[in-house]
């Protein structure tokens, strides 16, 4: 067994919903990497992330999270990762600390670690002044930030985010981006999908592009440029995903 397995390894991953949503996907994301998964609408990005997070069972193929086979030991794999979907998984009738208390309970985080971490995250994301409010009254951006705090409360080694910046204003987007970069700087791994190509261009160390459930290109921005006629990531993306 490899002493330092990758953060995520997908081999021959397949999921079919009448038509293939993920079609024999092979993907490796290294530890400590900021990886952006791009693709046009319906390319299979969200399905891939839902398979990795354990929300969907694959029809074929394997998923390894930090060397742990998700099918063999789902709880052990889930304990070391976090998933943040585009629609925040919140409870409208809970206040921020209560939400984090619940999430910390689900991940079994000890009180002496969870409480200071919760305070730190809420301070960082500028949510402490809303600590008395129920989340049902929060704006879209505040909900997204609280959900991110929930995803980070157990300090996951692998953080998976589906469109985390959708609907955020500039200030909130900056806070989230800073938090993600800090997570990577501390040795964590981030995999995100986004339609905002500028985010992937500026943050991601490697970029994977999928179309029709398959990885069609992967590498650093320079490597992707080298495979195409160059230009910005948008140019590269449009060239790669153009319908043949």
């Amino acid at each position: 067994m490899n002493a330092h397995p990758p953060a995520l390894r997908l081999a021959g991953l397949r999921k079919d919903f009448g038509r293939p949503a993920v079609d024999g996907l092979d993907l490796v994301v290294r530890r400590g990497e900021f990886y952006a998964l791009l693709g046009p609408n319906g390319a299979g990005k969200t399905t891939t992330l839902r398979l990795v997070s354990g929300l969907l069972a694959p029809d074929a193929g394997s998923i390894e999270v930090l060397g742990i086979d998700l099918a063999d030991a789902p709880a052990a794999a889930k304990a070391r990762m976090a998933y943040l979907p585009d629609e925040p998984m919140l409870y409208g009738k809970l206040k921020p600390f209560e939400y984090l208390e619940f999430v910390a309970g689900l991940w079994g985080v000890r009180a002496d670690q969870a409480e200071p971490r919760a305070r730190e995250l809420l301070d960082w994301l500028d949510l402490s002044r809303h600590a008395h409010e129920l989340t049902e009254g929060f704006s879209r951006g505040m909900k997204q930030k609280l959900a991110l705090a929930g995803a980070l409360i157990h300090e996951p080694e692998l953080l998976i985010l589906d469109e985390p910046l959708t609907g955020l204003d500039a200030a909130a987007a900056r806070q989230v981006k800073d938090l993600l970069l800090a997570h990577v700087a501390k040795g964590g791994t981030v995999i995100l999908t986004t339609h905002i190509l500028e985010v992937a261009e500026r943050l991601a160390q490697r970029i994977g592009i999928i179309r029709q459930g398959r990885l069609i290109a992967e590498g650093t921005l320079d490597e992707l440029r080298a495979h195409t006629r160059g230009g910005s990531l948008e140019d590269v993306f449009l060239q790669l995903t153009a319908t043949p």
Binding site: L55, A57, A75, A76, E98, E115, H132, E133
Partner: protein, 511 residues
């Protein structure tokens, strides 16, 4: 001929279409063909009943004060129920419809929107009653008894008056209480109006023989007075019986009230909508220190979360508790007879606790707000679900602990048997939802029965079985069981076991 887009007629058509969709319960599609067919069949049967009734009542004088009084009483009860459903409809159109932002941002004048909304409330309120009463009017028409046609203007006028009252009450509550509380309070008032009719209908049976006699004498005295038949309070009854002048007066009153309500309060309506929209976004001012505790066990964490969610949702809580309100008249009735009090206590507590547990278990287990969060966490789903079941059962047991303790101290054998029956009903109801519950959303609490017919049937049989056991076992502590009662105890016990067995067999397979 189709109304021009943007006209009042066009808007009314849109409103009626929404009401028709809402008739299916789910509010997302029109009622199915099977439901429509069944309703038509029922309506045809009502016409037969109407034919026979109208034929039999052919010789009854419409101006007899006794008849007018009875019709007035029925009409008062019907108006209470109409008010109840009109309040619910007002809450629906004011707070729960998601098309008002679109309508109010369109060039349509707000008074047209409000008038049509009000007309929609009145139409949906009247429709239910016309469904049941129109067959009598049709039968009267066919038999040449024109006075029965008074049902149409009578019902529509009373429905319009009740709808105006309901809308004004709801908008008034918004001004006094704010939009956030109005939704809950208006629904509670609406449900109470309906429940009061049921309770009031039992008043005669509940009162002592002396009181019944005194009331009868007083009414006889009133009805013997000269000119009593012309009393203004009996006007709606006369209108219902098809007397032209009262009919015209009632219709004119309803039209005037409707026009005044629509004209004078449409600005208030728009203001109420803005308040309702902003209520969801309003924050809560800090009033108390934050209470949270990290580091609880998973089981306890889930229980605390479920309780917080239930307690902080007064709308949901009121719906749960109002379910129980409708059982109260039954208990009043059975508690009047001293010889069946203990049995009634056993059966009543089993029914109440079973029903309450079923409702709470559905909220905790089936109506999870963030199911994906639980699935992506490493927490054991079995532990989470057991904690949710405990969160549903514990409040019910806490609620009945005091009366059960009181009963056990006074009558140990009876108390212990009732404890057993209540425990069985609660556990049975909880397990049925635990095994057979399908995912739902909290906002659809009232429609949860449509999502799981099997589960609801099992819940009902569970409550009935434990209720019957409670009745007979509690009775057995006062006098020896007869052969029939022993058979009933065995049958009820067997039914309770069979229901649980069926729930286990039909359980939903979970990942």
């Amino acid at each position: 001929m189709r109304a021009a887009p943007g006209s009042v007629g066009w808007l009314l058509r849109h409103e009626l279409r929404l009401a028709w969709f809402n008739a299916s319960g789910a509010g997302k599609r029109r009622p199915g063909n099977a439901a429509i067919g069944l309703a038509l069949l029922g309506w045809a049967a009502l016409h037969l009943l109407g034919w026979v009734t109208v034929q039999r009542l052919a010789g009854v004088a419409g101006d007899d004060p006794r008849i007018l009084f009875v019709i007035s009483a029925v009409l008062a009860g019907g108006a209470a129920l109409m008010l109840s459903s009109a309040i619910k409809s007002s809450v629906l159109v004011l707070f729960e419809r998601s098309d008002l932002d679109l309508l109010l941002s369109s060039p349509l004048p707000s008074h047209s929107i409000f008038s049509v909304r009000l007309a929609g409330v009145a139409a949906s309120t009247a429709a239910v009653y016309l469904f049941f009463l129109a067959p009598f009017a049709h039968a009267g028409l066919l038999q040449g008894q024109w006075r029965w046609l008074g049902v149409y203007p009578g019902v529509i006028s009373v429905a319009a008056l009740c709808s105006c009252a309901a809308m004004l009450l709801t908008l008034g509550l918004v001004r006094v209480l704010g939009a956030r509380r109005t939704r809950v309070v208006a629904q509670v008032i609406g449900a109470l109006a309906g429940a009061l009719f049921v309770i009031a209908s039992q008043l005669h049976s509940l009162s002592s023989r002396d009181s019944q006699g005194r009331v009868r004498e007083m009414l006889d005295g009133l009805l013997r007075q000269d000119g009593m038949g012309g009393h203004p309070l009996l006007l709606p009854a006369r209108a219902m019986l098809g007397e032209p002048l009262p009919m015209l007066l009632l219709a004119a009153l309803a039209a005037v009230v409707f026009v005044l309500t629509a004209r004078r309060t449409h600005r208030f309506f728009a203001h109420g909508l803005q308040l309702a929209a902003s209520a969801a976004r309003a924050g809560t001012a800090p009033t108390a220190p934050l209470r949270h505790r990290f580091g609880r066990s998973l089981f306890l964490t889930v229980i605390v979360k479920e309780w917080r969610l239930i307690v902080r949702d007064p709308h949901l809580l009121s719906q749960v508790l109002l379910q129980l309100l409708f059982l109260l008249p039954l208990f009043f009735l059975v508690f009047q007879r001293a010889d069946v009090q203990v049995q009634a206590l056993g059966a009543g507590l089993a029914l109440l606790c079973g029903s309450l547990t079923g409702a709470l278990a559905w909220i905790a287990l089936s109506a999870e707000d963030a199911p994906d969060l639980l699935l992506v966490s490493p927490a054991s789903l079995a532990t989470v679900r057991r904690a949710k079941l405990a969160a549903a059962i514990m409040p019910v047991l806490a609620l009945v602990a005091v009366p059960l303790l009181w009963l056990t101290v006074r009558m140990p054998a009876t108390g212990l048997l009732v404890c057993f029956v209540v425990g069985g009903a609660v556990l049975g109801a909880g397990l049925i939802v635990f095994w057979c519950g399908r995912p739902g959303v909290r906002s659809n609490f009232k429609g949860r029965g449509k999502g799981g017919v099997v589960m609801n049937m099992l819940e009902m049989f569970n409550s009935l079985a434990w209720g019957a056991l409670g009745w007979f076992l509690a009775g057995a502590t006062r006098s020896p069981l007869s052969d029939t009662s022993a058979l009933a105890v065995t049958g009820s016990g067997a039914l309770a076991v069979v229901v649980l067995g069926a729930a286990w067999v039909l359980r939903v397979k979970r990942a």
